[in-house]
Structures are given as structure tokens and as C-alpha cells.
């Protein structure tokens, strides 16, 4: 699966309060959360983002709370992939679990410029900065994570597992 879109570039430690402020956590409706994605941090983001765009950030993206509302809001905005040098671990799990593609690749994040077009191939982990004509390789997903992704997320994976054990 290849994803192509423009880069929205951020620095280190973009926290979950920046991604979705807690005042909007009285709902879990993705469309409602999408309206407020990055609202306090980059108020123009929601108006600017196009389906398939990428969020690119340097390190520790998604630090802070465990709110799954953060990757949900990003995904519901139409963002195709998040590329970062590193992710906070709860955000990483949450993104995989809800089916928001994320790739860990520091050089791609460091060299990207706002508005660049990048193409990400999730299967191979290859990231191409089309604007700059550079190609990078993200950390490959561990085999188990690929199984989760192939199953369509953790819920579907667990459904199948339990069905196999005869609990359903």
C-alpha cells in the first residue's frame, strides 16, 4: 500500500494535549475529534490538511496521555501516514491498533520540508521524498506487528484468536 501526500512538519515532543486538547475528550466521535486536531498547536492545520497528507515530526511524537483519541483525530482528518524519528510508546500501540499507518525514520523526518510531497510504502517501509528526490528506509515492523496490521487491527486479530479458541 502506497500513500502519497504533502508534509506537515513538526519538531520534537508533539504531545497528546497538542494533538487533541482534553476539552474535547467528552466525545469519542472521530468526525468531531477531527475538527479539533492540533487546534492549540497549529490552528491552521485542520483547514490546510488534505486527504493522504503526512505528518512528519522529529522525535517522541505523541508523548503524554494514553488517549486513543489522538491517533483517531489524526486519522479522521485524512492523514495517510505519520513519519517520525521516534514515537511515544502508547501512541505507537494506539496507532497500530486503530489502523493509522506510522513509520519510524529519523533521516526522513530531519530532511523533510513543509509542503514536500512524500510517498510511503508501508509494506517495504520505503519513504520517498518526491520533492527532494531522496529515498529512505523506515524501521521495519516486527513480524507480530505486521500480523496485527494484516488482520486489520487488534480487535480483528483478537476476534480471530478467540474464535480459534472456541470462546465465541
Amino acid at each position: 500500500m502506497k500513500l502519497k501526500g504533502r508534509v506537515h512538519l513538526y519538531g520534537a515532543n508533539v504531545d497528546t494535549d497538542a494533538i487533541i486538547p482534553a476539552r474535547y475528550l467528552n466525545t469519542s466521535d472521530p468526525a468531531e475529534l477531527a475538527k479539533h486536531c492540533l487546534e492549540d498547536f497549529d490552528p491552521a492545520f485542520v483547514g490546510r490538511v488534505q486527504p493522504g497528507d503526512s505528518i512528519v515530526a522529529t522525535s517522541n511524537f505523541g508523548c503524554g496521555s494514553s488517549r486513543e483519541h489522538a491517533p483517531v483525530a489524526i486519522k479522521a482528518c485524512g492523514v495517510g501516514v505519520v513519519v517520525a524519528g521516534s514515537f511515544a510508546r502508547i501512541f505507537y500501540r494506539n496507532a497500530i491498533n486503530i489502523g493509522l499507518p506510522i513509520l519510524e525514520c529519523l533521516p526522513a523526518a530531519q530532511e523533510a520540508q513543509p509542503g514536500d510531497t512524500i510517498e510511503a510504502d508501508l509494506a517495504s517501509g520505503e519513504i520517498t521524498n518526491v520533492t527532494q528526490g531522496r529515498t529512505y528506509h523506515a524501521q521495519p515492523y516486527p513480524e507480530f506487528m505486521l500480523e496485527l496490521v494484516r488482520a486489520g487491527g487488534l480487535v480483528e486479530y483478537t476476534r480471530r484468536r478467540l474464535a480459534g479458541q472456541g470462546r465465541r
Binding site: 494535549d17 467528552n26 492549540d40 503524554g64 494514553s66
Partner: protein, 419 residues
Amino acid sequence: MGMTLAEKILAAHCNRRQVQPGELVNVRVDLVLANDITAPLAIKEFGRVGVDRVFDPKRVVLVADHFAPAKDIPSAGQIKMMRDFARAQSTLFFDGGEGIEHVLLPEQGLVVPGDVAIGADSHTCTYGALGAFATGMGSTDIACAMATGDIWMKVPPSIKLVYRGQLRPWVGGKDLILHTIGRIGVDGALYAAMEFTGQAVAALSLEGRFTMANMAIEAGAKAGLFAVDRTALTYVKGRAQRPYTVYSSSADARYQAVEEFDASAIEPQVALPHIPSNSVPVSQARGMPIDQVVIGSCTNGRLEDLVTAGRLMAGRKVHEKVRCIVIPGSRQVYLEALRQGLVQAFVESGAAVSTPTCGPCLGGYMGVLAEGERCLSTTNRNFVGRMGSPKSEVCLAGPAVAAASAVLGRIASPEELEA
């Protein structure tokens, strides 16, 4: 080869003799937690897993604490959803006002040494103070664990933090952890388990240790653990609702890194806006004007925190330019604070005392900040907009600095009040 405390707990929960950092393992969970923000999403996902019942209703705990007692109609709906689910599934449920999850669960003996506890709240790592492996996750992970009673994990490398020497007066767990995050950074322990050791932390009460373990996530850690000693066993005795197992790191356990601290050199700390690693000794933050002080939260809402604040506030007045909000972390803490005359002392000093809630910590309610305001808070995060307006500021500190600052109307050292 020897294993660390974290590795031993994980190995025991996947029936392995040995586990190594980086390995993916499927571990049994002893306790699964969600709150009024994360439970509704978890309940929705649980409905998709395709089982009728949770794996064990006595090991699933739902706590309404973030926006509870309900702050508005949508929040009331979210809490109702979890209340209905808890009743239908006969899980444990704590309604608004009963307490903040991470104060409540250890206090009620629901989490015990040697446990693997997971919660849809990042501060679940608090229980590491009991020698448990506890970590935060999202709602979908929790939904699946509620169905299966297990969860996949990558075994984290451990980082050992050694605190030598004796603590100075008015220095507590909060100061040690803020200082630590200041040194190693907000991703200084990313994916790792922090193991807190040394003479200075051995001298801390369990309350001080809960504060430290609570903020392990603020260094990016997966867990923050303490060895179980006599202090921990005394705390657990009479509370534990289940048998427990005490694990400890082997002498030849391997650590990714070892950080040493001279605890006797650490002053009370203040983390300046807008990141918890921005910590400085209070002497460098003294004099900063503030509009509000909050004393409470899963970080510092325990009895010892209120006793510390009470020692500085009793018989004094909250400064006229400052509002001070004190929030006992649980009903039991509240009752004990009443018995000890602390609530009366706070109210007489001019503070507002609230029923237990996370409320202001995440800008929910009960102390939301306006544009241009600055709050000194004993909570755990000071990100932009954390407690309200994106144009407000939050500084973090322990209860002693918070209480002194409330009285003096600016960031202040407790020693200024004593002088």
C-alpha cells in the same frame, strides 16, 4: 543471566524462565483499568471483539474520575455508559467522587506486588511503587485485554536510577522525579522500565514512591518500579485483596543504563512551562507571579501531600491574588484529612476544597485557566493548554512548594515561610 525486577514479573506472567529486552511476549494481566475518558472507546471496541463477558469481572476496574462528577452533558453520557457496562458485566466500578484511579486502586488493595496491571491511562505506571509491572495503554488494547485477560508486550530494557544520600527538608518524591526528568529528558527512558533505587528513595514513604513511579511516563518510560521492602509490605498488609508475589532484581541483572544522583544536593524543584523536563531548583523560579495553585491529582493527592501542604498553610492565608484548589485524591484521603483537621485548615486559609477528581489537571473543570494566567500545580504535565487556555502556563512542583507559593502569591520556597 540474572533478570531485572521488570523482567522477572513479565517472565512469570508468560510462564517463561527467562525473558530478554526486545522480546515480544504475551502476558497474563492481573488487573485491567479504564476511566471515564478511555472506557467509552474501550467498551465500543469490546463490543466488536465478539465475546459476551469480560475475562474476570473482579479484575476489571472502571473509575469515573476525569470529568466526574459529570462536568457537562456529554461527560454524563460517557460516565453513564461505563456505569451501565460495569453493572451488566459485574466489574468493579467507582463512581464520581470516590477517588482518582491511581490513588484509589493501591489504597483499596486492588493492585498488589508482582502484578501485571494495565490501564487505559498513561499514569497507570504509578503502581510500580508496589513492585508491580504497571503500564498505560490505549482503549483498544484495554478492550481486547478485558476480553482475553492477556496482552502482548515488548520486554523493555531496564534503566537503573540510584539516589544516594539523604533528602533535604521539604524535598520529596516529586522533586526527585522532576529533577530526574530534567536530567534525562522527556524521552530519556523511552520504551524502558525505570527502576528507582538507593538510600534516598528507600527512605521515602509509599506515597512519595507513588509520585515518582507516576511520572515515569513523563520520561517516556513504559514502567517505573521500586523493589518491595518493609515499607511497601507494611502498606500492602491489610489492604491486599489477593495473594501477591515479591520479585527483586538479581545482582547480575543487566541494565541499559545506570544514572546516579546525589539526592542530598537536590533542592525542591519547579518544572517551568511547557514541558516536564524544564525543571529548575525552586531558588531559580522564586518570585514568578502566579494566579492559581492546585494541590492534588494522581501524582500528589495522597494524605502525605495534604499533610505537607497543611503544615505550611494552617493558620496562614492564601494570598489575595491567588486562588488555591485542594483536591484529596480519594474518599479515604478526604476523610482522613477531615479527621486531622486539614480540610478545616485549608478552608480557613481561603482554599477551595473539592471532592476527588482529576478535573483541573487536564483542563477539564474545577480550575480551568484563562488566557494569560499561570498556575503552579502538583500535577504531572505542563504542556501548552494542559490546564485550559492555550495561552495559559503551568508550572509543576511538589506540595510544599505549592503551599508556600499559595501563601506568598508567587513561586516560593517553603523555607521562605519558615524564616
